[in-house]
Amino acid sequence: MATIDYPLDRPRAVEKEFSFSETLYKWVATVDHKRLGLMYIVSSIIFFVIAGLEATVIRTQLIFPNLHVVDPDTYNRLFTMHGTTMVFLVGMPFIAGFANYLVPLMIGARDMAFPRLNAFGFWIFLFGGLLLYFSYIGGGGLGGSGSAPDVGWFAYAPLTERAFSRGHATDYWILGILVSGIGSIASAINVIVTTISMRCPGMTLTKMPMFVWTMLVDSWLIVIALPPLTAAQIMLLLDRYLGANFFNTQKGGSAVLWQHFFWIFGHPEVYILIFLAFACLNEVVPVFSRKPIFGRQAMVGALVAIGFISLGVWAHHMFSVGMTSWSNTFFAASTVLVGVPTGIKIFNWTATMYGGKLRMTVPMLFCCAFLLQFLCAGLTGIMLGMAPFDWQLTDSYFVVAHFHYTLAGGLVFGIFAGLYYWYPKVTGRMFNEKWGKWHFWLFVIGFNLTFLPQHMAGFLGMPRRIYTYPAGRGWELWNFLSSCGVPFQLAAILFFAVNFVYSARKGEPAGDDPWDAWTLEWATTSPPPEYNFEKLPVVRSSRPLWDLKHPQDPDWKYNQ
């Protein structure tokens, strides 16, 4: 067998000075997957900060009973924008960003399959996001003042119909999300085509890195799950402007129909989001445990199983809408069942760590916290899947706690693991480890302090989405504790931001492969050149750099 040729340490390309307008042109007109990936990630981080500040106002309002920091309408707009932003303008573009940057590098390709579609996807997502936020200026309609949508991120009909939602705020919600959804679909199609057709010689599907596998399944889910939302949003627009009455209950439309449409999208959507965290863990955990991923085939199988089952669980958001007992039982069963493959993933990551030599770097710390917090989220998910218990829990603060454990304690922790892990590759410099650890510990404390008490508020009957609450119903302590977690999280994010900005200029040079890792992105320079690889690599196992570094003990000798 020919030797595999990827020199591990090569001289860095000479950096040319560019003027501001040249730089701007380079970024705006680029079709390079790495630049587009970076722009996706930076926009996501900016939207993440905005959404975090919105949440800060929300928690300030709820710190004491009967507090009126903002008026009810403002509050309702804030939680609508917080949820919408986090899902559509943080989670989704983070997926596109990570996939764009890493998939071609990991499969040894020079770019995505459709570079221009890729650029289109990014810009249309960004304009969708800006359109949503433009509602603060234009949402009141002609001559009206600005008003953001206040219908919740799920926008339940008929609250969104013209009878109950005047002005254009809801239209901004519909159009902003619809447009950025087109970007997500474009990016997903691109990832699918790239992984199917552009893998380097020798990389069969069984040897494809787990990150890429996760992104492939994730992209299929996006392609399947997003169109129902887009369709429903168009139907809603027809209702609002052409008198279609799909969801207009005043004229015989169905409010429940919207809920079905929304959750047929909405539940796969949460798996779409968490898959990004899975993808990051699939790379970070093995590298810092110094062991290959445990049960690779089982991990891929579990991934595909979650994808399939997640398409059949949507109505567990609707146990209280008065479905028949058979429907409720069916959706309870499918919901609890999805816990099995999800459990397999947690077990396999733990088994990967077991017997390893854990390097407790910042990305690994985030993975460890992910495992414990995502375990909690999974178990509260089973509670919510038990339909009779859900009749009590749904739409209470328990649900708020549950999905923040999945999407913040899970997804955001997974994203931070990924950001820290690939930071040296992207910038060519190391981040400050000490500040990274401050970020981690403050974030763990802040996150758990904020969301753990919300379970209790839910048990005591506190409903979601209320702008204030009376004293004396047992909710004061839990809300107070919950709000106390916020400053910790803000401080953590400050450490993160300062670290990333500062280290990009002043950090220690990282070299090509600072983590002693095994996948192809570490075989090129940091940052990688525009063409990624001078010579396309040839691989014989799922850990090509391991094979290279351990010629006496390569992976491909073993049956895997």
């Binding site: 109950f164 209950t249 690779r296 209280s320 030599k357 375990l375 009957g461």
Partner: protein
């Protein structure tokens, strides 16, 4: 009877009922709530065990295999790729647990949803409005608002069946100590039943986001002994107080636009958009639970509802002080 002694009388009467302000779903006092709690406890036991085992394993793995200063980092650990036996084990065991959970769910879902009504049943129709509850008793010809009265019995033999409807957007009817929630959806009839086993003044909330004042769409459910419930229905069935001393105040009330939205049985006020006021003073709170019902609050509310419950659908009518006094004086006769 002057208004003050009336209020005092009502408060004494109300205080006979235990306040159930802490709506703890783990202290259920009716059948659906009890069986939901049973499911919850079983789920806690199973998920708790899983948490201890898996969480313990994760923590142990981190603590045990953490590399320490001085470890030779060049020395790689043994490369283990997986084990089919282990994978099969941790697939089969969760599947068995899942079957238990599904079985329990199916039984309780069917038990609650397909229960047939007992002999003594009260029928109540609850209609959600932005942001208050209309409560009708078809068997008694009563319409009231926000405060739902139902009978209870210690053995749970007194069941109440609710038909849930909405006039506008989706709401959800939730009194945690009695039963889980059921959504209140326009253009659709939903059903909910409960059989309280303890008297009480129960607190609940609208649990589906329904617009600006979702937070102040609270539910008060009064479960009282059947004889008290009977007395209450008899009082509610009477027409409005027509005491002659209130005639002038009444005329003022009827001359204002209050009557476009509010109903006072037996008068020309036949509006249906807002809560029925025929027996307003029998209710402990106003504005969907936003403030207590007393003379001072009532006056403040009529004067400026938008100041108390911003965004609610009752306008501030800009009444003169004199009109305000008269309207409040009349309202206070509506026991």
């Amino acid at each position: 009877m002057n208004p003050y002694s009336l209020l005092a009388f009502l408060q004494v009467q109300a205080s006979n009922l235990p306040e159930r302000k802490i709506a703890n779903m783990f202290r259920p006092l009716a059948s659906p709530g009890e069986s939901e709690k049973q499911v919850a406890l079983l789920t806690f036991a199973i998920t708790g065990a899983i948490f201890v085992v898996v969480g313990g394993l994760i923590v142990y793995t981190i603590a045990r295999f953490r590399s320490r200063p001085g470890d030779d980092l060049r020395q790689e650990p043994p490369q283990v790729y997986g084990s089919n036996q282990i994978e099969v084990a941790w697939t089969i065991i969760p599947i068995l647990i899942v079957f238990v959970l599904i079985g329990v769910t199916a039984r309780v879902v069917a038990g609650v949803q397909n229960a047939s009504p007992p002999k003594t049943t009260t029928h109540v129709t609850v209609i959600g409005h932005q942001w208050w509850w209309e409560v009708q008793y078809p068997d008694y010809g009563i319409t009231t608002a926000n405060e739902v009265h139902i009978p209870f019995s210690l053995d749970g033999a007194q069941a109440t069946y609710f038909m849930l409807q909405s006039m506008d957007v989706a709401h959800s009817f939730w009194v945690p100590q009695l039963s889980g929630k059921t959504d209140v959806i326009p253009n659709r009839d939903n059903y909910l039943w409960m059989n309280p086993k303890a008297a009480g003044y129960y607190y609940g909330n609208c649990a589906e986001y329904c617009g600006t004042q979702h937070a102040n769409m609270q539910i008060r459910l009064v479960a009282e002994p059947p004889e008290d419930f009977k007395k209450w229905t008899l009082n509610q069935q009477t027409k409005a107080n027509e005491a002659s001393e209130a005639a002038q105040d009444k005329a003022v009330f009827l001359s204002l636009s209050c009557v476009n939205c509010h109903m006072v049985q037996g008068t020309t006020a036949i509006g249906k958009f807002g809560p029925d006021l025929t027996h307003l003073m029998s209710r402990r709170e106003i504005g969907g639970g936003v403030i207590e019902n007393n003379r001072k609050n009532l006056r403040a509310w009529v004067n400026d509802p938008q100041g108390i419950k911003p965004g609610c659908l009752m306008p501030s009518l800009k009444l003169t002080d004199r009109e305000l006094d008269q309207v409040v004086a009349y309202l206070e006769t509506l026991k």
